[in-house]
Symmetry: C2
Subunit: 257 residues, 2 copies
């Protein structure tokens, strides 16, 4: 949807290509500056910020739709994505909230229009490597911005609830999901990994015990290279051993937090 023409076609005829009454919204998490961040977009037509989302093609599986929607917006492929909950409050998107469709776009819309009828949204969360995301603007979107999850702007519809539930889910699954693997770059230091877990768990961890535990899982490889980052000893780089990580996850790995 890069032109007004495409947008109008989407509004008028999207109901033929997409499944009405259902949508997908994605809480995209990244990690940067020792903060857990979430990617939000600002529509040209709404005051508040929103999760990236979209509709499901008529014959498209849900997981594929979520991947496609994020790929169109971030350029990323093979994103770590998990469905976490569906949101269906009948007033989650009020008629008022959709008024921009009529007013801003000057398009006459029937009350049973596919975009105005009640819509259930399926919530996905994504874990991505912060630096690899290059948001792609479309005709709908004014800009993208990463937000610290502790300091969010006002969100449209029920998206604040979605973020809250996505966060809860990620935190609960921290012990069993490859959170570090997906949120950190290829190479990272032990203090960086620890900061990630401290941020997720919202509590400080003991450096020595943390390192013992992580190395004890047998899924990390220490590199020769050290990161040079200031007036002190340089930390080693580590990377995940993909194969061993996969094996450990299959075998019921728990990080023990």
């Amino acid at each position: 949807m890069n032109t007004e023409k495409e947008l109008l076609d989407y509004i008028r005829n999207g109901g033929e290509r997409f499944l009405p009454h259902v949508s997908i919204d994605c809480a995209v998490f990244g990690f940067h500056d020792n903060e857990l961040k979430i990617l939000l977009l600002k529509s040209k037509f709404l005051e508040d910020w929103a999760l990236p989302g979209g509709h499901i093609l008529r014959s498209e599986p849900l997981d594929v739709a979520a991947q496609r929607i994020l790929n169109e917006r971030t350029g990323l492929n093979d994103i770590f994505l998990k469905q976490f909950q569906s949101f269906g409050d009948p007033n989650r998107v009020s008629a008022d909230n959709m008024n921009y469709l009529k007013e801003v776009l000057k398009v006459p819309l029937a009350t049973d229009h596919w975009l105005l009828d009640r819509t259930i949204s399926i919530g996905y969360y994504a874990l991505v490597e912060f630096s690899r995301v290059n948001p792609i603007l479309d005709y709908f979107t004014a800009r993208y911005q990463w937000w610290d999850v502790h300091d969010l702007p006002s969100l449209v519809f029920d998206h604040a609830l979605m973020v809250e539930k996505a966060l809860q889910t990620v935190r609960l699954q921290l012990n069993y999901q490859p959170v570090g693997y997906n949120l950190l770059p290829e190479k990272f230091t032990m203090p960086e990994l620890q900061k990630l877990y401290e941020t997720m768990l919202e509590k400080p961890l003991d450096r020595r015990n943390f390192q013992k535990r992580m190395l004890g899982l047998g899924i990390l490889e220490r590199l020769e290279e050290r990161k040079k980052v200031g007036p002190h000893k340089s930390p080693y780089y580590y990377r995940f051993n993909r194969k061993k990580y996969q094996e450990a996850l299959s075998a019921g790995l728990s990080f023990g937090f």
Copy 2:
């Protein structure tokens, strides 16, 4: 839907009262004879067994819809119900699977009929007290039956997948959800409670450690009464102290399994 007339009206005009493209299916778990059971129904019009399910009223919240659907089928109120996943494979209900609507009911249906179009189903699981369930038949349903989760019949659509995911979810949440509270009757013995956990965890537990752990949680009350069940010592009855159970859950209770 107790008469053919009501059923026909539902098929013809249900799309006005219910939200199309979305449905709810419920995996109802009970515990009996030391087995975890699931409640399935046999439609008059299908070969295979099915989870109880239904559609969402146009302005009804999801959780309310799930409660209503189960209440209509089991007579139970205030059921412990949790949404666990939405299922949206485009072929989860094939056109062939819906042929019964045309053939058996002899109703001419357009291809864009609200019941034939692709439908996303929101999966809920319920934990109920086995003995309190009195299934209510309607015009659609031939009968209900409890099935051991290890020995299920052939299921319609993608309902086998739903049962599998529901089971996974229940097992994962065993430590944080009041599983015993909802699956057992008011009064129960310690061996019964232990059997429930052994069934859920699929492994034997030590009697003494189990009892210590459960009593240590401070949510059980021992009654004077003992259950008389055979040529051996009679076990005490216990019941949950609701108030303390709620407090413990809020405080982040974990059973430790």
